[in-house]
Amino acid sequence: MFKRILIANRGEIALRVIRTAREMGVECVAVYSDVDDCALHTRMAHVAVPLHGVTPAESYLDMDKILKAAAETGAEAIHPGYGFLSENAEFARRVKAAGLAWIGPPAEAITVMGDKIESRRAMAKANVPCVPGLTDPVDDVAAAVKDAEGIGYPIAIKAAAGGGGKGIRIVRDPSEMESAFRQASGEAVSAFGDGRLYLERYIDNPRHVEIQVMCDSHGNRVHLFERECSIQRRHQKLVEEAPCCVLTDQMRQDMGEVALRAAEHVNYEGAGTVEFLWEKGEFFFLEMNTRLQVEHPVTEMITGVDLVREQLLVAAGEKLSITQDELKIHGHAIEVRINAEDATQGYLPSVGILHNLRAPGGPWVRLDTAMYRHMEVGLTYDPMLGKLIVWGPDRISAIERMKRAIAEMNVGGVRTSMPAALTVLEHPRFVSGDIDTHFLESLTIEPPKEHDILVAAACAIYRHNKAKRSAMDPEASSREEWKERGRRERSGYARRLMERGGQV
């Protein structure tokens, strides 16, 4: 096993890797941008190397800086986490060329699976069922309208270089094609620097079901069952669970075998996820994510397998510690993502200082987060602040436990996606398991009226007490306000916006 690895990431996933590495006796090198100089991953690593710079491009996406940090600290391997450079084949190649181990799949697998069109071709060859559609990018709107007729409406326009739902547009009628094509192309260029689009049949009410696979370099491959991720908005998942309540054992086995076929076809190694659209018992290959996923904890909770540990074993050339026969589903797990966004205001991004954190606890509650008191939440990085995960012996008890855990939690200083998750968990359709990928978007997130009187009265007293305090000690209270303003003005987010010429 490695003595020391470098983690080319930040936030909760950097911490997630540090935790398992510590438990394995592996030292961790953290890298950090200027804004992350007091971040938890910086504090909890054994060695922390400043990358300088603020934007992802200046820091966590800068391959040269990261490889230099690895060389200088004697790291033997690089874990990319998710996002940033995790699905960058060039980086994987450069890591290996530098004589380091890459804690991820071979660059070739990343390349094939990272391209929507290439991956469809490869999967068709491997006899993996795909959604009806074209395997070539379309040139322009006219071609798109023509091709769409062959595939049949509704049509999904997708970015060839895409992922995470970015650059996707749905077209239900030829008349909508022009506007959708232009928007999708724009987003694809802006997000990926590659405007190529392709068309696919749009499955109307699918569930998003994905299979976790793990492969080592000795030809051992296992799948760790499925995750149900239909609760999403703009293709961003919010609530994930395992297992999926509509899969039969036979279907689970079939999907697992198809996923392993897909992995084998691209000589996969390490952790990967094969995503499927599922409708009425049929399933179609959507894409393969060639990295550890945000929602991996639900799989860990139902199997007892530490996926990061397996990743490290595989990258060090060792064998998987588990076989397919040993893997069993034990109970039910649910994850809720804690995003800095105001779910009651159309999921607007929310920024601020986390001054009032309250974490849930008790049996079978897991919190994966890099939040800390006084942390500043800005717009520079991903809005996901952490994940709340629960386990229960069955789905209903897991739902009840998650509702309990959310009720205990408070992330003071920003608004979060938790009220949306709670609304989902309380909804009869979710409880009965009757969901699809449109379910979340159909919900209006609003606090229940039940406690309005209480809240109104409490706020009035809060205001009254605050006013009374100012009256009694006007100096202290103006000092408070001054401090508050100072904090806002000094805050890195404001400073950076100013530097970039914006207003605050």
Binding site: A460, Y462, R463, H464
Partner: protein, 169 residues
């Protein structure tokens, strides 16, 4: 003290009278008996009402507060008589139009209208990119564009005035 308390469009009138250390509280005219304690100095409170106990988080200032109660989040706006009158007057002065503000910080990708152009409710005004997602900002009502204050490529903060509309008379 009389307060107009708005949460997500639901409005309540709260009367709070303190007399000889005794507090009397009415919401929409009905007496509310409430025990309110600060559990720490950082925003955690405990409230007892109608024999029930509640743990609350309250943050914010005397006008805009956020309350978290059992996982749900309440955005609460408070005004007293004087503030309400002032706010109403300001609103009236703006007619059907008024400033279009950036609801979040971001980058202006494209401005879709010109000064002087007439708009309907829902006419796309500009595209704002934030968190890598593009969002169309639409006209809140019919009128015309009085002033465009931003241009493509510009970074704007949350609350920044993007353009000013003139309402229909």
């Amino acid at each position: 003290m009389k307060l107009f308390v708005d949460m997500h469009g639901r409005e309540y009138e709260v009367d709070l009278i303190e007399r000889a250390g005794q507090r009397e509280l009415r919401v929409d005219g009905k007496v509310v008996d409430l025990d309110f304690r600060e559990a720490d100095t950082l925003g955690q409170f405990i409230v007892m009402m109608d024999g029930q106990s509640y743990g609350l988080s309250i943050e914010g200032d005397t006008h805009e507060t956020h309350v978290t109660l059992a996982g749900h989040s309440y955005a609460v706006h408070m005004e007293d008589d004087r503030e309400r009158a002032a706010n109403l007057a300001a609103k009236e002065a703006a007619g059907g139009g008024g400033p279009v503000e950036a609801v979040m910080p971001g980058i202006v990708v494209e401005v879709l209208v010109e000064e002087g152009q007439a708009v309907e409710e829902g006419t796309p005004l500009l595209i704002l990119e934030a968190m890598k997602m593009q969002n169309e900002i639409k006209a809140p009502g019919p009128g015309s564009v009085a002033e465009v204050r931003v241009s493509a490529g510009q970074t704007v903060a949350g609350g920044a005035v993007l353009m000013v509309l003139k309402g229909e008379d």
